[in-house]
Amino acid sequence: MRAKISKLGKAFLKNNKAAAALSEAVFNNRDRISNGEKVQFEVVLSRSNKPVKFIAAVRSAGISQP
């Protein structure tokens, strides 16, 4: 069964650098992420002639107990 991934998520997964930066941000800030805090991280895309730096934020969507 195909996993639930949003359009933004798919865009991230298409880009190796973005996906790696996100993964690293989650790993390096796992305590903050697990508390639902927003964590900023940078993605440098070099598709155009000069690298473009973007700042994105990620947080855990959390769990509501069933």
Binding site: G9, F12, L13, S23, F27, A57, P66
Partner: protein, 258 residues
Amino acid sequence: MNIAIGAFLITLLFIPAISFRLALNNHRQLKELLGALSITDTIWMFILVPICTHLVLLPILFTLGMTVKFDLMLNIIYSNRDFHIDNRTMGWDVISFMGYVLFAFAAAFVVSAWIVKNKRLSEKIVALLGAGNEWYELFDGKYASMNFDMILLNVVTGSKESTLIYTGYLENYYFQTKSTELNYIVLTQVTRRDLRKQALTEQPLGEGGKTTAYSNEPGIPIDLPGDVIVIPAKEILNINITYLQLEVDNEMIEELEG
């Protein structure tokens, strides 16, 4: 021959069950879990659907002054020798019967599609069919407190040599055939690291005693080549699931998509 025609006509009457099954294809969980059903299985499983459909539609048609000639069909099914066949009359009767079957099919499909789109009713159907599945609920984020963009998994797997952590984004997951048991998961953008960075051995313990301990820190992540990594469920010891919600500018999405 007549038995075949009779069976065909009965199937036509049961056809709303198939339209219900088709509508269930719009439901991710039910589509997967009921995918193995044959047409016969479908008809028997959803036998109440055609009954309810005809129960609703026939009184409406009768109220509107229209009739469906079931006596004609009954005579065909029973191969009644006394039944006089007039092609001209029967032609229209058959056409109107087929029209009714098509109408019942469409009506059942529309109602079923609406039921499937309704979250509360579709959950009732899932519960009624016993198709509840903990893996689907976890990976579809049923218990996530807000919307999410993707799921990051840390999968601990055991092998003879070592215990490894695979970190990657969930792309797909598969159940065993005709079962709700997880068969394997498919991750993308995967890194792998050892569960323990290193073993700390030969610590002195009293008089010449030695002990072995393991570092609490995991090993260094190694990027794995390949687009996706398939991990069989039987290798999995546990899974850490993080539902990630991202915030980025629209221009970044365009840049990412290229």
